[in-house]
């Protein structure tokens, strides 16, 4: 230790945890090394002020418990109020969105119904329209002759 500086020892562990051997080595070293003496002085004083500060303890008052419970209730009330105020602000938007959804659903329902099947009665009172005969009655379209198709078409006009 005589030729080694003590700064590392001072920084590696708290001063009060130094062993007796380490203390003796430090004191021997600082007797001949002014730079390390300064470092040691600073470390000793730093440790002392920190211990003095650590001794300052503030105890809770009997009212502390009441204070925490009041803060807890205030926090819970605040949460309820924040939800209520959020709803108050957003309810107009939510209501208008709902109305739009209802309108769209209604329109969809009616439009869907009107486009879903061909009209069963044609304008001239025939049961089936020409399109229905040609397109939808494709199952037996092969059985029809050209004449039958043409006459059906002309009859429907």
């Amino acid at each position: 230790m005589k030729n080694e500086h003590i700064i590392n020892t001072l920084e590696q562990q708290p001063l009060n945890s130094l062993s007796d051997n380490q203390r003796i080595a430090i004191k021997t070293h600082i007797a001949d090394c002014p730079a390390c003496l300064n470092a040691y002085q600073a470390a000793v004083i730093a440790a002392e002020v920190l211990q003095a500060r650590a001794g300052e303890i503030i105890e809770p008052t009997p009212f502390f418990k009441t204070r925490v419970m009041a803060a807890l209730r205030a926090q819970q009330t605040e949460q309820v109020f924040s939800f209520a105020s959020l709803w108050k602000t957003a309810r107009a938007a939510v209501a208008s969105m709902l109305a739009i959804v209802v309108i769209l659903l209604t329109l969809n329902f009616y439009m869907g119904n009107s486009q879903s099947a061909p009209s069963e009665v044609s304008e001239n009172g025939s049961i089936y329209s020409a399109e229905w005969v040609i397109l939808d009655n494709g199952n037996n379209a092969d059985d029809w002759t050209d004449e039958q198709v043409l006459s059906t078409l002309y009859e429907s006009r």
Binding site: L15, Q41, I45, L50
Partner: protein, 207 residues
């Protein structure tokens, strides 16, 4: 003892921490009140290491308990409940310090006459320490506070817990949630800064 239902008022005092936590999780405010009553001295001791004004200590302790109330579900019941609370308190205090603005009026370069005299006296008898009076303890604590104001919250934490309160690396790691090697490195760096700050102060006085 625990029946899963609210207890009689006297029973809360005799209930274990785990029983109280189970009840508080279900919204039993009386159980939470007992937790606050039982653990506030320990939480105040932790917060006192970070703040000096009563108001600041009470604010930090209150925030700790409110956080604990909302985080009861994350308490896994493996370690001690007090250890869990202490960790919340330590991290709450560090976060408050991190978010607080530094106060320039608390500067180590501006010492009061008492602090100046105390430092001069200590420089003389540093190799032969004497029992300090209560007044001197107060002056030393003032000086410590000025110095701690100038270091980072993390440095402050390791310095006050390890060098001030003589806690081990393991204990500080448990309180902060940092790894042991991290605590060692931070402590070394913080001691170095603290020592350098004092060396600067002492060299000014010597000059």
């Amino acid at each position: 003892m625990w029946l899963g239902a609210p207890l009689l008022e006297q029973s809360y005092e005799h209930a274990s921490d785990l029983e109280l936590v189970s009840l508080a999780r279900k919204g039993d405010e009386a159980a939470f009140e007992e937790i606050v009553r039982r653990h506030s001295p320990r939480i105040f001791r932790v917060a006192s290491q970070f703040f000096r004004r009563r108001e600041a200590v009470e604010d930090a302790a209150q925030e700790t308990f409110l956080k604990a109330y909302t985080q009861f579900s994350s308490y896994e019941e493996r370690g001690s409940f007090e250890g869990w609370l202490v960790r919340i308190a330590t991290n709450t205090c560090i976060n408050i310090l991190r978010s607080a603005k530094r106060r320039p009026e608390y500067s180590i370069s501006e010492l009061t006459k008492e602090e100046d005299d105390w430092l001069e006296q200590r420089m003389v008898d540093v190799l032969d320490p004497k029992q300090s009076s209560v007044e001197n303890q107060l002056v030393a604590a003032d000086l410590a506070e000025k110095l701690l104001e100038e270091v980072s919250p993390d440095d402050r934490t390791v310095l006050t817990l390890m060098d001030g309160n003589e806690l081990s690396v393991k204990e500080v790691a448990g309180m902060t949630g940092w790894s042991e090697s991290n605590v060692k490195i931070r402590a070394m760096r913080a001691r170095q800064r603290m020592r350098q700050a004092f060396e600067k102060l002492l060299s000014k006085k010597k000059a």
